[in-house]
Amino acid sequence: MEKRREIISKAMADLLEIPADLVLDLPRLTITGRNELYLENHKGIIEYSTVRMRINLSRGFLEVNGDNLEIQALMPDEMRVIGEISSIKYLD
């Protein structure tokens, strides 16, 4: 049921040329250099340490690895992470 809704939403987004992050609630990542990550449409934090951070998404989660990771700002839909980021991974 959920999958069908997702397929229909994607088809509608393609047809109407609406950004997928608005229709499908997909995460939007903005990375500035390797020290700043701005993430929209997150669903909370699963794990937080100075070297690894796992952030919940609508589908799966995002793993951020690095050093001295800090959450500079945290709001219900968006967050800004700073620190020396070494990798960002999408995991299911």
Partner: protein, 406 residues
Amino acid sequence: MANKFSDQMGGFISLRLRGANQEKIINLVLARGIYIWDIKKRDDCIYLKVRNSGYEAFKTIAAEQNFEIELLKRQGLPFYKKIMKRRMGLFGGAALFIITLYIMSSFVWFIQVSGNDKVDRNKILMTAAHHGIYVGANKWNFSRIEVEEAMLREINEISYIECDIRGVKANIKVVEKILPDLAVTGPCHLVAKRDGVVEDVLVLDGQASVKAGDVVVQGDILISGIVYPPVPLETDVLPNLSPSSEPYQVRARGQVKARTWYEGYGECQLKVEDILFSGQKFTNIYLESPWGKYLLKGRAENPYAIYEQSEKIWHGPLKNWGLYCLKTREQVIKTTEYSESEAIDIAQEKAMQNLRQGMEGNLKIVDSHIVILSSPSDSIVRIKVCAESIEDISLPQSIEGGQISN
């Protein structure tokens, strides 16, 4: 993202959280819509900042989850209230200072007039005062453009005026009208403007009344504007011509060069006492009030034997109140003795300066000689310088007698 200014205005608290499963509390806080930022993990603690408004809710969540909260710092305007209450005098004084400064700066305290040459400064100031710009006038009580227009209408000799209000100073800049010279029309004579011996006469129009070598005094007609037709010789008269013998008037034009004399006088004492400033000075500032003058700064007694004083009075908007500034400068007497030759040189220089002042423009001196008037036994040297110059001494004068300027 949150605004740092609004954080400062609302106030925020820095906290340290200690407990297990710290991600859980972050998610719970997030779900409750409490904004937290600067989340850092150090050892087994989490450091974060929360707004003052969300602190109570945060504390409840932390207590439910058995977290230990340590309050590290309170920042922002609400937390400065206590400091402000304690320093009420300081803040009150600062506020009073700003208010006083604002009120005082809304008046015109100084007026400067520039650009006027022929128009009297007092006339400009009086007109400006009549239309609202005077010392002590409130800047909001007059319109600069209206004052400019009114002053321009009232003072006919001015073609442009600008009232520039800068802070407490009003700069009134004026441009005077350049009125055209009186038109020289109609017949006229050329008369001598000073005594002299005529050297050369050049007549362009009119009839010469003098010739080279004549001695003329001021006012003598040099070239007449009344021309008498030449009387024809009997042999020249043609039988069919009857020449008119009536004189006619012209505007006399020409140049009459004459040798003129100028005299200059100068003197010099052999022993001169000059009063000079020693460089020592002091300034007294008094407060002027209806009950008398009070010394605010300076010396009560004057230690100088010879001195010069200059005073400045500054009156505020309240009459009888003001500041009185008295500047005292010490003077010393310096005696200089000159030898006779030095005194002659100085007196001669003064005499030449005096002579030059009496001469018009840059006239060339063709001959000069010096006469020493004083005797050798005098303590003063008196010198007269006589100079000769050759210049155009003609001056237009209407035939009725009135003078016409060129």
